[in-house]
Every structure is written in structure tokens, then in C-alpha cells.
Amino acid sequence: MAYQKNKLNRRQFIKSTAATAAALTTGLNALSGCGGSGKGGPKKAPKVIVIGVDGMDPRLAERLMAAGKMPHLAQLAQAGGYHPLGTSIPPQSPVAWACFINGAGPGSHGIFDFIHRDPHRQCLPFYSAAETTAAAGGWEIGSHKVPLTFWPFNHQQSQTVLRRAGTPFWDYLDEAGIESTFYDLPSNYPPSRSKHGHHRCLSGLGVTDLLGTYGTYQHFAEDGPVRPVEGGGYRHSWLFFENDSAPAELIGPTNDFLIEPKQTTINFQVHRDRASQAAAVDIQGKKILLRPGQWSGWIKLDYPLSMPAVMPDKHISGICRFFLQEVGPNFRLFVSPINIDPSAPAVRITEPEDFATDISDKLGLFYTTGFQEDHKALTTRMFNEDEFIEQAEYVLQERLNLLEYALQDYDEGLLFFYFSSTDLQAHMLWWDSDAAHPTRGSDAAQYCFNHVQDLYHRLDARIGEIIKQYGDEAAIFILSDHGFANFGRQFNLNTWLRDNGYLHPAHCTALLPTGAAGQVGPDWLGTRAYGLGINSLYLNLAGRERDGIVKPGQEKEDLLNELTAKLLAVRDADGRNVIRAVHRTDQVYSGDHTALAPDLVIGYRRHYRASWATCLGDITREVLLDNDSAWSADHCADVSEVPGILFCNRPIKHKSPALWDLAPTILAEYGLPPGGDMIGRNIFTT
């Protein structure tokens, strides 16, 4: 299939007008070694292909290579093109990919955990990589606000802002006139702007669904709760059939044009035929026929946002897939999170904006949320393992189609393509131990883990095709941001801090009490340290935290030393050490963006992780508990426990390559020096 490029989009327009300027500045120098005008027209920039396989683990990859199950990557390894890849402290995806992006550590980009806290609001948590602000102002008419932006109405739209700081390495390519295209890039939502029109990006991890969440599925069942029950990532509703038809309601984005913002809804009907074991979903004039176990394709949804009578309603387009699980005796219908429609994006998910529609024009509709695998449905047990695997396989197939598109659209410069499958499938299916799995019998655990191994095998085959096609003309890198480990036991840091007298009072049950009966909040004036996020420990520092009591200087120093020593001594009931290392961020982070860094990063041993409860400050009775979730593998351990992988079709000479070494290596391929803040160095030099 050949893709036409016959319309002048924003990128092409910027390129055409910026071409002269680019040639007169650094671009001329950069391209002189690899292009510029010459006989037969301008030469093209060299090809560099980077495949990101989130969470691909070196232990498993090495075992499968030895067993002949990953022959193509094994071939690279035999030629000196393989090394475990150093990851970030802590090894969490938003932190790690931002290190790849900046060619530097967390102090350069300011992302230290999935979750940060606001010290001025005494540790209220927020998502670290992006911030969404609520709409404000406007002209109020009746029940609506009209978005007049001029004084005195001063309407400000709700917007999401990228919190990653520093300079991404593609800015240097952009300035030098070198094309770069990224698909599903994490830690870059909303996508950063391209100044010179040579950079394109489809954002990945961090993109929300239309509800503004990281993926909320909706489930309808005859045995569902009479009043809908909502939680983080799910909404469960009851279906009541009359004459084999039942009304239902699909929630959508919030209408911020109302003075009291309200969630929009779409009413739909479900009809079932028990005799023929089938059902029809009747929604906005579309009739979707499904049999048990069958998924629909992508369905477009039109959410109208009501406006004042004098103005036409606004419309937001979303996409979802229906999955009929059972017709009877208990009718069950699953609806995927409502994704942003890439053919008519309600918010900007690509740079340039029309890149999303360019892709959609050729490929149709596809997942746009950062988390595409419906992991939440497995942890809530709305899916069984096979249902999760089927949905995850669909995601993989869709991304393989996108890769096909990406390669056919690729002509020169840098191409980055990302797979989430190796991460989210591993979280849910990985278990490489004889010990009991948190939720599965040993046969089921082995069956699921076999699927992960098969996934590695299949990705190896696809990567082998890329090497065959481009190996002679492109530098090809395959890298992961971290590895994986079983998650069998969980450690509640806040319970430990409370039980050891650092967090008061002794009967405290929650750092962030919600007002629920029986909850006891902290006494901040008696609290010296607290945990928030997955690996982060903060001192309640005077002058930084609103109610801080620990004095900077010697008191802080003594407390950090005391906490480190005691945490390293924590042992499980069987005598195993729980914590491998405790990192002082004033020693391991450098850069201009450390203001929100925790004071200590807890590095867990394999098999251990922060408890589910402690991440948002809930305090359980026990410090150490079994993990009881289908989310049975993780990587939020110590940096030394879960390195990533790096493969290349050229020998790697660097003795200990790490994520931040890729950016300067790629820039060097184009004759460009490392960016000013970069700490990494070229992996092809010793």
C-alpha cells in the first residue's frame, strides 16, 4: 500500500516556510555530513529506527534467546549488539521514558514517580507527567457559561499541560532540519510542539480517555448493582430487561459549559434473543449484533454538550468497543473506555494536530488512550484471563498495523515506535516462580506466563523483519525502559513509618482521610516522614511542607540516615530482606528540576513492591501482606533489580549503557553534539 501525501498540512506548511531559515542555521551544518543539495537532488537524512518494547526483561529475553525462541535478537546479541540497559531511579515508565527523552536523569525532567504531591497542600497527590486544569470564568446565562475569553468574562478552557521539563532530544533534530516521527511515545502528553515542522508525534502513556481518566470501562449486567458503582477505572451498572429489552446509559465527558458541570450521557437499548444466543446494541442509530464472546469493532459516539438556547450545541466524538460476555442466564455487556476519536480528536493527541487524522484516514479508528489493555477488568474480575488475553491481542494487532503504516510512511530520519504489550501483558500474566500465584493455580499461572513468552517470540519475529528490511541502511535500536519481576508481597511504607514512630498518631489510618467513618488522619505536627506514590518517601520538612516540622540541616541529615538504616534492615517473616537499596535523591539526582523530588526512593527487592494501599496514603494493620491482585508482576523495585534491554544492529562499546545514553547516540548519528543538559554518552564509543 502506498500512502499519498498530497495535502499541505500544518507540518508541511511550516517546513516550506522554515526551510530557508533552517538551512541558514544549524541545519546546514548538521546536514552537510549526511545530505544537503547535490547531484540528483537533496540527500536524505540517515535512517535511525528505535523500537520501544516497554518492560521487556533481560532475564527472560536471555533465557528465550538461549532456547532459540528469539533468534533475531539473539543474532544481534552474538554480534555484540546487546546489553542490559540501565534504568531510572525509580524504574517507573514515566520517569524512565523521560530520561530517554532528555538524555538525562530525573533531575532534568522533574518526574520522579507516577504520583507527585503538593507540599503546600500537605501532600495532596496528582499525576506527575501532566496536569489538567478546570475550566473557569465565562459569561453566565441561565444554567450555562458562555466561553467569552475577553474581559470581564475571562473564560479559560479546561486544559492539560505537559509537566515534563527540559529539552527533548528531537528538538535538536527539528532545529537541524532532520525528520523525526514517534508513535505512542510515553511521557509526552500533550505532545510538545515542533518549532520547525520536522517532528511528528502520537502521544502514548499519559493520554486519557474522554472521561479524563486513564481508562474507565463500563459494565452492564443483570446482576449488577441497582445504583451504578464507580471506582478508579470502572463503572458497574444494572440492566433490567422487560420483554428482552433493557435501557442503559453510557457516561461520557463532563459538560464544562454548564455552571454546575455535569457528565454527559448517551442512552442506548440492549435487545437479547436467548433462543438464538445473540444480542443487539441499539445506540445513536447504529445496531450492533453480537454473540457471546464477540467484540464489536470501533463504534463512534457523539456526545452533545448543551449550550445556551442562542447557541448551537457542541459535539465531542468518542470511540468504544462493545463486548458481549453472556446472553443468559446473567446478561453481561462490557464497554471499553471511551477513547478520544483519532479521526476527530476532541483534544490534541498528536503533533502536528492533523497527524492523528492523517493516520486515521488510512488506518481507521484505533486505541488512543495511554493504557490500551483493559487491565482493570481483570483485576476487578469482570474479565477472566482468556478475555483479557483476547483484548490485549487486539491491541497488539492494532499496533502491528500501525507499525506497518509507520514503516510505509517512513522515508528518512528518526522513526520511534512503541509497544505497550510487553508491559501491560506482563503486569497481568507474568509469573516465573514455583511459589503460589496471588490469584491463579499453578497450571493457570503457567498458561498465562507462556503467553508472555510467546509474545516475546512474536515480537522477535516482527523485529527480525525490520532488521531484514532496513538493517543495511539504518541504525536500529530495540530498548525497554525496565524489566519485570513477580509481585508476591506488598510493603506498606506508611504503616511501617507509623509503627516506628515517624508518622503520628499511633492509630492513624490514612494520610488523606476522605471523611469515611472510623478513619483517623495524621497529626502533621507530630509527623516526621510519610510515603506517597510507589517508591517515594518524603520528610515533613519545615519550610517546604505546609505543616513541616523537620528542620533542614543536621536534623534532616540525621533523620535521613536513620530512616535509611532502619528500612534496609526490614525483613519479611521468612527472614528475607524486603528493601534492596534506599536512594537519597540529593545524591542521585542532579539538574534544575528537583523541587518536587522525594527525599528518599525506596528500592524493593524482586518479589516485593509498595502496597496497594500505601501509594495514596492508606495505612493497613500489617506492614507486609500478600499481594492478592491479578496484577501479579511489577517493576517498581530497585533500579538494580529490573534493568531494561538494549539491542542494536551494531556492536555496543559502552560498558554500562543506560536510558540516557540513547539520545546523545542518536544525535551523533546525525553529526549533532549532545544537548546541553544531557549526561549520557554515545554507546558506540568506549
Binding site: 507516577f114 504520583i115 497542600r121 495532596l124 497527590p125 496528582f126 499525576y127 478546570a134 473557569a136 459569561w139 453566565e140 474581559w151 470581564p152 468574562f153 479524563g212 481518566t213 486513564y214 481508562g215 474507565t216 464507580e230 471506582g231 478508579g232 477505572g233 493504557f371 487491565h375 482493570k376 483485576t379 501491560l424 503486569h427 488523606l512 476522605t514 471523611g515 510507589i534 496497594w612 501509594c615 495514596l616 491482585s629 496484577w631 511489577d634 517498581c636
Partner: protein, 63 residues
Amino acid sequence: MPKLKLDAHLYDRAKKAAEIAGYSSVDEFIIHVIEKELAQLEAPEGEADEKVQERLRGLGYIE
């Protein structure tokens, strides 16, 4: 009833805005603006905070 002093230029701007927005008087407009600002400043943060926490639970890493 307490009275407020306004700069003449600011008063003129407020008067124009009140006319555009359809308020019956400048007083009504100013009272409305102040009430709106106070409502925002005095709004309890609890509900919004809970929503943020609920959203974070959807990440998968937190249940």
C-alpha cells in the same frame, strides 16, 4: 450598607461590561462578580481531591 470606592476608569469599564452582559445595573454586575469569586475561593476542595485520587487509582499501579 457598606459602600465601595471604585476608580472612575474601572467603573466605566464595569458599566460597559454590565451593559454587554445584560445586567440591569453596575451594582448587580459587581455583586455577581464578587459572589462568583468568593464562591471559588471558599469552595471546599474535598470533592475535587477525591476525584483526582479516584483517577490515580485507574492507573493500575494503585487499587
